[in-house]
Symmetry: C2
Subunit: 236 residues, 2 copies
């Protein structure tokens, strides 16, 4: 049975409450100051792959609906992420090369880009609704990083400050659009499934990171090894 607009919105929000990656233990470690410098670097390197794929995802999206993010913002987001990379001692060129990114990260992110390209518009928009759950994690992250790590300051964290400002605008549009267009049970189920898919994409990235770099670390063959890709000046 088709759910009411409110009941359907509550169902979407429940997916975040149960499956969003703020529940992953890696974030506690990161935000709480429990990460070693190399664990922070591994996170920066791998999350970059996600970041650099967003313009591709948006290009796929733009051909389908008015872009609600904008190319400038995308490029700005990559630039801000590379500022973070420098702040944690990494060579931004190494990070931008995407060498050393975990294969599992690539498989998950590539699956997301293809999902947005190949699925219905409703599913593509619904997948973006993880932004509904993002402000809390971004706020926690800024607070935790500032408190616990020397590298954290307004410049290195500008990526998150920016998302904190933009995500609510972006997602208000997306949520309204999904609530308007998911007007049958079948479409509501499709939208909910798409949002679950996206939480899986995010969760898998942290799982890969956790199992590669957190005790007991098992770095897969070919992935970034601590000591690689450091900026010459700031190597520590």
């Amino acid at each position: 049975m088709t759910q009411s607009r409110d009941a359907f919105e509550a169902r979407l929000r429940q997916i975040g409450a149960e499956r969003y990656h703020d529940l992953h233990p890696f974030h506690d470690l990161l935000h709480g100051g429990g990460c070693t410098p190399d664990q922070v670097r591994a996170w920066v390197i791998n999350r970059y792959y996600y970041q650099h794929s967003i313009p591709m995802k948006d290009a796929a999206f733009m051909s389908r609906v008015e872009d609600h993010d904008g190319t400038d913002t995308n490029e700005g987001g990559i630039r801000r992420w590379l500022r973070l990379a420098e702040a944690v001692g990494l060579d931004p060129e190494y990070v931008a090369s995407c060498e050393g990114v975990l294969p599992a990260t690539k498989f998950a992110v590539d699956a997301y880009v293809r999902f947005v390209r190949d699925k219905t518009l409703l599913e593509a928009v619904a997948a973006s609704l993880t932004e509904l759950f993002a402000p809390k994690i971004h706020a926690n992250r800024i607070e935790g990083l500032l408190k616990n790590y020397d590298f954290a300051d307004d410049s290195s964290l500008s990526y998150f400050r920016n998302r904190l400002k933009e995500a609510p605008k972006d997602v208000a549009f997306g949520l309204g659009w999904v609530l308007d267009h998911a007007d049958t049970q079948e479409k509501q189920d499709m939208a909910a499934k798409a949002l679950i898919f996206k939480t899986d994409v995010l969760w898998s990235q942290l799982d890969a990171l956790h199992s590669a770099y957190v005790d007991p670390a098992r770095i897969p063959p070919g992935a970034w090894q601590p000591g690689e890709g450091l900026a010459l000046k700031r190597a520590s």
Copy 2:
């Protein structure tokens, strides 16, 4: 510079020596009898997703080259895998539903199917050469499972016995084809990269399994939970 046929074959074999998933600690655990019944079940459930995708991969492949595996074999392989599922106490219908498969497993296997569909024929054949490295792991597995687990017998392990018989034939064709057709440095590099990609696909699946179900287990939201999907008669 283009490598000689022998040097290029040695290069391909070296990729297996360094990156094939027989090096993953999960296999030691499994073959050595260190897995709990639930860890064996998690392996059977997740590996099924790979198994059931092989016909799709082969269908993509068949439209490009004479199939060297055959649909009968594929269907036989799935049937033999479900026999193993029953032997470890799982409901074969649950396993065949692919519910509860780890998202990271899906992302990796789906990436492989698409790789075979979208890349050059040379890359598609080169990716199949992980079979070069398979006989040793299949022999170790049969020996280890027979020795260490009650469920293991000729019927439940028929999948591996069959692969042990077929893989060498299949891969002899594939290896010869790749050695013949990779006649420039560029093509040799492409083939080596494709084989590395495939080792990443296999390794990622074990990493996901290990981090979800081996101590400290972190099962992702929505993935199989021990106790689910058991066969009524044989639930233990």
